[in-house]
Amino acid sequence: MSDALTTVDFSSFVRSAEQGRASMDLALDGVDCATCMDDIEGTMQKVAGVVSARLNLTTHRLRLVWEPEATNASALVAALAKGGYRAYPFEQSRVEQEETRRTQWLLKCLGVAGFAAMNIMLLSVSVWSGNVTDITPETRDFFHWLSALIALPAAAYAGQPFFRSALASMRAGKLNMDFPISLGILLALSMSVVETALHGEEAYFDSAIMLLLFLLAGRYLDQAMRKRTRAAAGNLAALKGEVAQRLNAEGALTAVPVSALNKGDHILVRPGDRVPADGVILSGSSEIDTSLVTGETMRARVGEGARVYAGSMNFEGALTVEVTAAGEGTMLDEVARLVEKAGEARSRYMRLADRAARVYAPIVHVTAASTLIFWLLMGAGAHHSIIIAISVLIITCPCALALAVPAVQVVAAGHLFRAGIFLNNADALERLAEIDTIVFDKTGTLTLPDPNVVNAGALEPELLRRAARLALSSRHPLALAVSRLVVDAAPFESVEEVAGAGVRALVDGVELRLGSAEFCDAHVHQPSSADVSLIYVRFGEERAAIEIRQSLRPDAFAIVETLRQRGFDLRIFSGDRPEAVAPLARQLGIERADGGMNPAQKIAAIEALRDQGRKVLMVGDGINDAPALAAAYASLSPITAADLAQAQADAVFLSDRLAPVAQALEIARQSRALMRQNLWISVLYNTFAVPLAIAGYVTPLIAAAAMSGSSIIVTLNALRMRGVARKDQAERAPVAPLSVATQEHRA
């Protein structure tokens, strides 16, 4: 990896900084301790030409500023790699920039609301204590006007997130939670101003601002968690570090990051490379494995003029490919169209909080109106009746209700994050909790994305170890699979590669070969099943055939069994041949498995399940799965999935195990239970508080106490999940530990 990086042209990531300097942001892997920070910053500052190096330990990103004359971007990346840190330049996506901007905005609003709440409370407490002792009406009026002076501008600024969203929802014709919130705040403020002008004893400035403060805190937490998830996902995408070999007009090769490729560029795809972008083959022919694209594990022969899709693995010959824009390809067009159509159904999903708001808002408003009429009929006078009616609105203002869902979501997102699951959609949690049927894709989802040696046990260990060390010197995909058998081994010296045949080296004076049957002079071995690829090894007179196949994820059996026991209906919809799907389904004990499905058939099958009233979770990774992922009630993708599939998935998991699927469902189920509990707590609170308000007993002091009390209770209830999930993970840890230590740590 590191030697490949030294030659990569990173110019598209470099920005110009002050004083003619250059700067670049890098995503870093393996930053898991405090000393790393010292180490990285120290090392980089010692590199000649580096002006500053600053690591952000929260986002695991490093910002480098350097003098362009003294050094360059790829040298800096190489310097980091030498220090043992995998780094890759990255650019913040537009979505992430937007999230960052919104987080800052909410924090500003929170700051203003906090300032106002503290100062108004100071005045209010004086008035409350003065009201029961000897405050003069003039002082009270003065304090009230002062409160108004602070509260009105503060609410106008800090209330914007709610007012805007309420306006938008009104325009769209469906009221959301922000509507009753905005109405409550505005009414409380205007009533308080009127009361103050009439020299009244009570004003609700403090309640209105405190309400804002609590709600903003909930919003901010939610947003901060989403931003963090987004940043982690951005790092992962950058750290994939995909590099393409671009051919310029003179035919010279430059390595460029895939994100810097443009339409019309000519690229060279060598054997063992994944095709970096969609395109058309200009010259060359090869066998390619399109399993990431279509799910088909049988390799396809392609030649001049054929279309290739990003993610396909090139096996044999070098290909020159002209890049075409995404979506131009016939298959991608079809997939994009299906995705759009399928996604419509999901956008109609209404969130739990909004559903609650829809019931809640009319009840509250009707109650307030009837309170007004009741007191008017009782002859209480217009002024007194209005005050009581508005105090009903204030006390019911859904402080607890609006915190109930976000508080749980923040805690749940944190758990998912630690389990290596990144949420794409905020409402995914709620949908995941309702799942009863799970549909798996086969290739890359139930199986690992890269092929593995399957007959290792049947071979001579020493021969296999030698073969694996030799395989380190080859870029052939089959050799890569063999090379994964050894850890920390050095490749042999002076290895010779024979094009189209294999690699050979002299080991202890004996020739070692790895490659085709003819190259190793071996008998052609009969593979144990149709989807097995063979590579041969020969050491002196010893010969063996190594079988390579895409194998199941290590914990697939355990997780499939767990899910079945929990009562989920499991199915497989695969784009691969039925003969390849059936044995695997039998192995896993999944009865309903369909192979040879194209994207449209997958959607149709999922829609058929939906029409039976099922809530389907689709777990898939291929481009061919993207429409099905969009059509399903909820969807998950492994991190190795094609970009198009990841974009459609509700959540992406970061592991070569299947355990995150079960964990995501478990956490979602818990969080839904807690959300419901919280909503009920809010309802309970209202059944006590509302009669008091209707009876006219709610003073600003009681309103303040009730509001903070209920908010604290729902927040504490949400935090309860922490304990449950941690215990849960500890129990499951021996069965399904997360795979890669560094990844787990990041999570």
């Binding site: 910053e41 120290g42 600053r54 952000n56 986002t59 700051g111 300032f115 100062n119 003069t136 002082t139």
Partner: protein
């Protein structure tokens, strides 16, 4: 209650100062990394300018 005439402005001014300090720290990027500074303080080497 004449004391209010200068106590109230002082209270408000203090509050505003805190708010401005917060806004400045926000703009200055102090909330971008919430974990790093805790470790950075233990570092012996001063950051090079």
């Amino acid at each position: 209650m004449n004391v209010l005439i200068y106590l109230v402005p002082i209270a408000l001014a203090l509050g505003m100062t805190a708010l401005f300090a917060f806004m400045w720290s926000l703009k200055n990027g102090q909330y971008e990394d919430s974990e790093g500074p805790a470790h950075r303080i233990l570092s012996d080497e001063d950051v090079k300018k």
